[in-house]
């Protein structure tokens, strides 16, 4: 029953529990509950991930068997190939990695982890998802308009992207750009919620250093996003005007400059990779601490290093533009900054690895994913050094070496990170346990083939193979490396097939899995103190938690139990 709504807004506890959200199907359209909104982002993101993955299947089939009629798609024309790789990249970054890692888990976890009953702006939260959903619909719609999907790469460099005579899809290019811009708006709005909620809505007793790191990481990522996307928003408006009004911001024939777009894009684009990396690292930290039963090695180091990485990320962007026609002297500056940023990132990984020392490690499915993140991301991280060294980038730019590098970073972030988070918080979200055997089958069936997809791509890149080309049989020097392409494609198909046990496990466990109690992993953070799944309002209003210690007090010598929840007075 709803309480009468005369709530004073200053210093008076509101009665949040009396009013339950809308019922039935309307619940999913109008609910402002952060948990429901989080799940909406999660399932939308996973659906888009399936689409992005199927796109990869199609274009990899074309690459391995040029000219083949791809089962489920047909023959891939050069224009379709470009649209597939463009939208695969765009979808995976903007409609999978960001919504799942930041919006889904940020929404779900932040209020729970800080002992709050919801975000501080629930209706704005609702609006953010609706705008995001609109952007997802837009990007999918862009694939079906006359002219087809936009095929100018996720980086959308003008003049190709600005002029329909060059990109041959006036509608596709404009819809693509509008979808991306709308997604930015959704995340700007969502970010406000995360940041302000973390700052202000914490449980009594929760000081800054008592906040679980994943919550910090999501908020730092949101801040990073907000401060870096602005120039690109401006640039996108300019590109939109070039596309639709005939302005010449990026048209050299009219006094414009194509390189301006590149600067605006990468000024955002580089911080963006840390926008998705930090939440993934946060997720890994929570899981490693729990399943190694160990206090995180250096909480403050992690926090300050994450902030340092974020700050430094604003100074490296032109390493994407070494051979783009910028002043060659600038390249030296960016080589220095780019190589320096490897230091705090290495530090983050070293600290997580150091946390394993002295631990008592159990290899549950979430822990396997978290450990795989570390092992695989290390490869991604070190291969970035090759590209940051300007002299080497002259050769390696735009080759498959770049592609393999960023898949060794993005895949751990977006895919491994997602599976880690999902398998870890599934019991809390759905009140049931996932099947461990299926989880392990899914794990090995994903991680092993993943390496067989991308290690061949490193070799191909070192051999001089360039990106965004639909058939390498056209190039005499590259044709003979075809076996490597086939290995990569076959491995991708194997990996995609192993996602079937995952989806079966997910949907079956949601309904029929063994019931989970409040804290199946014996973890310390506040989300594990409430029911699985938590009720609307998360805790009864008179039982909102108070916090007495930090989040990683595992195996404390003064305690018999090897964990010490944050909300216990002693």
């Amino acid at each position: 029953m709803a309480q009468a709504a005369t709530v004073e807004t200053h210093g008076h506890e509101a009665h949040g529990q009396g009013h339950h959200g809308p019922e039935g199907i309307l619940k999913y359209i109008w609910s402002t509950d952060h948990k429901i909104i989080g799940m909406q982002y999660l399932f939308t993101g996973m659906f888009m991930g399936l689409i992005g993955g199927l796109m990869a299947y199609v274009f990899r089939m074309q690459l391995a068997f040029p000219g083949i009629s791809v089962p489920g798609f047909g023959v891939v024309s050069p224009g379709e190939y470009n649209a597939l790789v463009t939208n695969h990249g765009s979808i995976m970054i903007f409609w999978v990695a960001m919504p799942v890692l930041i919006a889904a888990f940020g929404n779900y976890l932040i209020p729970l982890m800080i002992g709050a009953d919801d975000m501080v702006f629930p209706r704005l939260n609702r609006l953010s998802y609706q705008i995001f959903l609109a952007s997802a619909i837009l990007i999918l719609a862009s694939l079906f308009v006359e002219g087809g999907g936009f095929g100018g790469a996720w980086t959308s460099y003008p003049p190709l992207s600005a002029n329909e005579n060059y990109n041959l899809t006036r509608l596709g290019s404009t819809l693509w750009l509008s979808a991306v811009a709308l997604e930015f708006v959704a995340f700007l709005l969502g970010g406000i919620n995360f940041i302000v909620t973390l700052m202000n809505a914490r449980a009594p007793g929760m000081k800054a250093y008592d906040i679980p790191l994943v919550a910090w990481m999501i908020v730092i990522a949101s801040i990073l996003f907000m401060l870096s996307v602005g120039p690109l928003m401006a640039g996108a408006v300019m590109l939109l005007f070039d596309q639709t009004l005939g302005t010449g911001f990026y048209d050299p024939l009219r006094g414009g400059d194509p390189i301006l777009w590149q600067h605006l894009f990468w000024f955002f684009g580089h911080p963006e990779v840390y926008v998705v990396l930090l939440p993934a690292i946060g997720i890994v930290i929570e899981i490693v601490a729990t399943f190694a039963r160990k206090k995180l090695f250096g909480y403050k180091i992690m926090l300050y290093t994450a902030v340092a990485t974020g700050v430094l990320s604003f100074f490296v962007w032109a390493h994407h533009q070494f051979v783009a026609g910028i002043d060659p002297r600038m390249a030296n500056v960016f080589t220095v900054t780019t190589l320096l940023i490897s230091v705090p990132i290495a530090e983050l990984l070293f600290v997580i690895i150091a946390t394993l020392y002295g631990g008592s490690i159990t290899f549950t499915t979430p822990m396997l994913w978290a450990l795989a993140f570390i092992a695989e991301f290390l490869i991604g991280g070190v291969t970035g050094i090759f590209l940051g060294a300007s002299g080497a980038d002259i050769y390696l730019h735009d080759t498959y070496f770049v592609l393999a590098h960023f898949h060794y970073t993005f895949f751990p972030i977006a895919i491994i990170g997602t599976f880690a988070a999902l398998s870890f918080w599934f019991p809390k979200m759905f009140g049931r346990m996932m099947n461990e055997t299926l989880g392990k089958i899914h794990f090995w069936g994903t991680v092993i083939p993943f390496n067989f997809i991308f290690i061949p791509l490193f070799v191909l890149g070192l051999g001089g193979q360039h990106r965004r080309i639909y058939n390498f049989q056209n190039f005499p020097e590259l044709a003979e490396m075809q076996p490597l392409r086939i290995v990569a494609t076959v491995s991708l198909i194997v990996m995609l097939l192993f996602q079937i046990p995952f989806f079966y496990n997910l949907f079956h466990s949601m309904r029929k899995g063994p019931k989970a109690d409040r804290n199946p992993w014996r973890s310390n953070t506040l989300e594990w103190t409430t029911e699985s799944p938590p009720p609307h309002g998360n805790w009864p209003p008179d039982q909102m938690p108070k916090v007495y210690r930090g989040p990683y007090e595992y195996s404390h010598p003064d305690r018999a139990e090897d964990y010490w929840p944050q909300n216990l007075p002693n």
């Binding site: 194509p258 039963r293 070494f322 490690i361 450990l371 090759f386 080497a392 002259i394 020097e477």
Partner: protein
Amino acid sequence: MVERLIQQASSYAHSIDGLILLVTVLVGFWFLLAEGIFFWLIWRFRAKPGVKSQYITGKEKHLKRWVTIPHALVLVCDVFIIIGAVQVWYNVKQHLPEADATVRVIGQQWAWIFQHPGLDNELDTGDDIWTTDDLYVAADKTYHFQLQSRDVLHSFSVPVFRLKQDAVPGRTITGWFHPTVAGTFDIQCAEICGIGHGVMLGRINVQDATEHAAWIALNNSVSAQ
């Protein structure tokens, strides 16, 4: 290492390959060390009945050292890589040696057009030789290239030279190369330029001095008509 996959055919190719090798060695060392320690730790500290985890805050000086010392060593390695990178970059992109000849390379949707200087060794004179798809140069001569685009961004890439430079419409960007091996090699467009990006294959024909002189002479008589 790279030369095992694709030959070196320019004067600076080996320095770029050398830089890649330097990075491989330095980065490879840290990578193997980190992965090695990682796998050792998860084996050594797997859960055993009756054994509790240690309580380590990270403030312990003797343990912090395990993070701060590698930290410093990584920085030192970075310095070596930076020095190597800057040297290679300066040589290829900042410094412009005197040219024996200059060619103009023009990218367009979707082909490469080349303007060779002809007998008088001067561009933009009546005897210039224009070709599509095929660039003709002589081995052991230093060339400047003037790179242009007629429409969108393209990128002039000759993998066996280890050379790459984006072509920007509205600009002429100058670079250089010095072929060292005769033969016919791929030119790839290295910046997505539309649906024909994948068919913008070009060929660079590096000829020895006599062959090249003959080629110029042949085309001179042709263009003089």
